[in-house]
Every structure is written in structure tokens, then in C-alpha cells.
């Protein structure tokens, strides 16, 4: 068993280094973890592969062997055409998978409890709120009074708790090197808890298909040393303000570069950092979906209907 585990580990480790060597781009995989959650997920992956090999290797080895040994053309060994039952063999066939599943299930229980995304990974988490839009993410830092579009900066060493919702269809937020994904749904909130243990940049993404801009709904995640994080926050407290007007432009079905155009910025795929207009924007966005009556396009914060289309004007 252990050598199987080592083998599987080698393959995955090779993949990890392969991806790491060619790191011209942002890290996008949990095979190069930047924090304890993703690291534990990687370890658990190796563990599961290793344990499962107990039931898989006999097939991978046994089938070619049986085909070779008992092939009609040049058979070796006995021919027992009427043999159809063996009690010891039955015990083995059922028993080994049962034991393996018991071991796997125990580890499953342990790791699922341990990596529950709702469970804070430490005291005094940094609170961030994420709103999924078509096709970008708005991150709100209520304590710092700033908001960003498609950029998430977190201080290294401090636990982070993201609370998610969307203001459009269902999405799923994944920052692979730091933590797993969770769905974000309108009118509801979900949570991700994680922390970064080393500085670096990673790519976050939406993994739930939500229209033609889906492939470009990526965002930059920066794990910054505490001092760098403070200066990043300070730099953000200027310029654009996230209020109903700017939010209406962001809510359009656009990718980041086009959204920048709508806001009067140059059309590069660079994140936008804004000052927070009101502290409880997130709460108001969630509450929109609990007003009586059906879809409306005219309510506060853009209502709940289809966002107003931009100048590009997807013709109906």
C-alpha cells in the first residue's frame, strides 16, 4: 500500500512542480498550496489515492495477468469451467472493499469536519464580502471601507472569512491555492474560511458557467505581508466610490475590461479599487431578493431583474 501511495504522490508531485516551474502565470492549483486549507486538501488527495490503490491495483495487475495466462490460444494453468463459488473468496471480495471503505469513510469524516468552510481557521478573521456579478466579482471590505472589483488582497497569517452572495445567477468562487470553492446564490449567503501562509499571487475564478463572459471571470488574489496589506488598503481609499450609480454599471453583463470602460477608466483587465459608499451594501443586495413581488428592474441597487445592458447592447 505504501509504495502505491508513494507512486501516486510522485505523479502528483511531478504535476505540481511542472505547473510551478512554468509559473509565468498566476497560481491556479491546489497542488501548490499557499495556505493550510489547500495544503490539507492536497494531503488528503494523496491519502485517498494511496488507500484506494488497495482495491484498484489488483485489477490493474490481475486483468492483464489473467488474459495472458488463460488466453484461449496458449493457455496455462487449470481449466475449471464449472467453478462458480468459493466461500473464502467471497469473504475477500466483499471484505476487502468494506474495510477499505471503512478506512476511507473515517478519513472522509475527519477531513470534512476539519475543512468545513464555515469554520473559522483562527481568531479575529478579516471579514470580506463577495458579490458575484456577470462576469466579475465585487469584494467589499466593510472594516477597511473599501471595495474592489476582481481583486482580493489578504494579509498573510491572518484568518480570512469571505461571505458570498450573487446579484445574478448562481456562481461558484474558487481560489484553488488557498481554499476550495463554494456556491454563491442570490438572496442567500455562504462562507469560505481560510488563511494564507506565504505571500504570493494566485488566480481566483468562478467555476459555474454563467454565460458568454464566463471564461474571463477571473480575479487576482494577493497574499500580502501585513505591512504591504496596510499600504494596499491605504491606496484604495481614494478615487471611485461604490454607490448605486457605479454599482449599476458594474451590474451590467460585462467582463472586467468593459466594466472599466463603463466607469470611465481605461479598458485594461486591471482590478478596480473603490471607496465604499455605504457600509451595508452587501446586506442590501441580499435583501433585494426578499421584497414582495416578482422580478423588478427598477428597485434599489438595480432591482432583481436582468441588469440594464451597456452600450454594447446585446440586442434582444
Amino acid at each position: 500500500m505504501s509504495w502505491a501511495k508513494i507512486g501516486a504522490g510522485c505523479v502528483l508531485a511531478w504535476l505540481a512542480t511542472d505547473a510551478a516551474m512554468a509559473s509565468a502565470t498566476l497560481q491556479q492549483s491546489f497542488l501548490q498550496p499557499m495556505g493550510p486549507v489547500a495544503a490539507e486538501q492536497f494531503t488528503h488527495l494523496l491519502r485517498v489515492v494511496g488507500i484506494t490503490m488497495v482495491v484498484i491495483l489488483p485489477v490493474l495487475v490481475g486483468v492483464p495477468f489473467i488474459l495472458w495466462r488463460y488466453r484461449y490460444a496458449r493457455p496455462r494453468g487449470d481449466y475449471t469451467p464449472q467453478w462458480e463459488f468459493s466461500k473464502p473468496l467471497e469473504y475477500a471480495l466483499w471484505g476487502v472493499p468494506v474495510l477499505v471503505v471503512i478506512v476511507l469513510a473515517s478519513w472522509l469524516w475527519y477531513s470534512t469536519q476539519k475543512l468545513d468552510p464555515y469554520k473559522p481557521v483562527g481568531p479575529e478573521s478579516l471579514r470580506v464580502q463577495a458579490i458575484g456579478l456577470d462576469w466579475k466579482w465585487v469584494f467589499i471590505y466593510p472594516e477597511e471601507g473599501i471595495a474592489t472589483v476582481d481583486e482580493l488582497a489578504v494579509p498573510v497569517g491572518r484568518p480570512v472569512e469571505i461571505t458570498l452572495t450573487t446579484d445574478t445567477v448562481m456562481q461558484s468562487l474558487l481560489i484553488a491555492p488557498l481554499t476550495g470553492q463554494i456556491y454563491a446564490m442570490p438572496g442567500m449567503t455562504t462562507k469560505l474560511n481560510f488563511s494564507a501562509t506565504r505571500p504570493g499571487e494566485a488566480e481566483g475564478e468562478n467555476t459555474q458557467f454563467n454565460g458568454s463572459g464566463f471564461g474571463r471571470q477571473k480575479f487576482t488574489v494577493r497574499a500580502l505581508a501585513p505591512a504591504d496589506y496596510a499600504s494596499w488598503v491605504a491606496r484604495g481609499r481614494s478615487g471611485l466610490v461604490l454607490d448605486e450609480n457605479s454599482y449599476a454599471m458594474l451590474r451590467r453583463q460585462t467582463v472586467l475590461a468593459d466594466a472599466r470602460g463603463d466607469l470611465g477608466l481605461d479598458k485594461r483587465a486591471e482590478p478596480i479599487v473603490m471607496t465604499l459608499g455605504q457600509r451595508d451594501i452587501f446586506r442590501q443586495i441580499v435583501a433585494k431578493y426578499h421584497q414582495p413581488g416578482g422580478a423588478s428592474a427598477g428597485g434599489r441597487w438595480g432591482g432583481t431583474g436582468l441588469p440594464q445592458t451597456g452600450t454594447t447592447g446585446a440586442s434582444e
Partner: protein
Amino acid sequence: MSESNLYPGLNLGDTHGEAHDQAETTVFGFWVFLMSDLIIFGILFAAYAAYLNPMGLAGGPGPNDLFDIKSVAIQTAFLLVGGVAYAGVSLGVKYKKGRAKLVAWLFLCAMLGTGFLFFEVKDFLSQASEGGTPQASGWLSAYWALVGLHGVHVFSGIMWILAMIGQIATRGIDDVVKVRLSMLGVFWHFLDLIWVGIFSFVFLVPLA
């Protein structure tokens, strides 16, 4: 062989020979089909329960605003008496009571079913006029879908009864018609069963 050839519902019995044998397979098949149908209702019941909360009600009118339990009781009476009346059909077939009696019992069932539908549609209309349309909230969508689907079943049951009256008139009470009347019986009682669930879980539980 008849002992082993029992099927759900009132069995025609040995005296019916071929029809009894055919019924074994066909009525069993129809029973299986109804089990599938039951899953549909089961999921709609579950959906109704899932939407019966402040979020599902979404500020729209709720059970206390819309349900008229007296009318529901009248509907229940119509439907259940209709179920009892079908016994007249089943026994009439089994003991070969002749065309006229069968048609009369079938007609009575159809009338009772129509009475049920009359009060149900009346309720739907008055609920809609009070703002209780299926477009008003998730809970109302679930309510209309579940109770409405049952209503559609009752309507198809009535159509089926009329079709059987037509078949009795054109082809007489042959083996095929006997088998179909057995299936119709299972269907008609199935509607009662569903209604008992609707009466209890859709109407009584939220009002309690």
C-alpha cells in the same frame, strides 16, 4: 392457477377466465405506472413543504388568507363518495350486472368527480382574485402545481369514465373493457389517496 394470479384491486375472479388472466398483467402494469405517478406527487408534496416558509411565501398571501376549509371539506366529500361509488362499478363487473347498471354507476362517479372539480375551480378562482395566483410566490407556485395536478388527474379520470361509457356502448362488456374498468378503478381510488394527502398536508397542516 387463480390463487397465484392475484393483482392489486378488486379481482375479477375465476369466473371471468381470460379477462382475469389478462388483468393480472395489465392491472399490475398500471399499478406500477401509478407508483411512478406517486413519486411525482411525492416530490410535489416535498416541494410544497420546502416552499412553506417566510422565504417561499415572499410576502404574498398565505394559507390563512386563502384557504376556505369548508369548501375543501365539500370537495373531500364529493371525491371520497365518488370513490365509494366506484365500488358499484367494480362489483357490477364482477357479478355481471349488465350494461345499464354499469353505465349508471360510472355516470354517478363522473358526476361526483365533476362536483369536486366545480368546487376546486371555484376556490382557485377566488384565491386568484385575492392575489393568490401562482405567479405571486414560490409557495403559491407549489400549491397550484400540486393541487392543480391532482385536479388534472380528476379531470382525466372523468374523461376516462366517459370513454369507458363510450366503449361499453360500442363494444359491450368484453374482456378488454373489463380489464380497463379494473384499471380505472385503481386510478379512481388512487386519486382519493392523493387527496387525503393533500387535504392533510396542504390544507390542514399550515392552518393548524
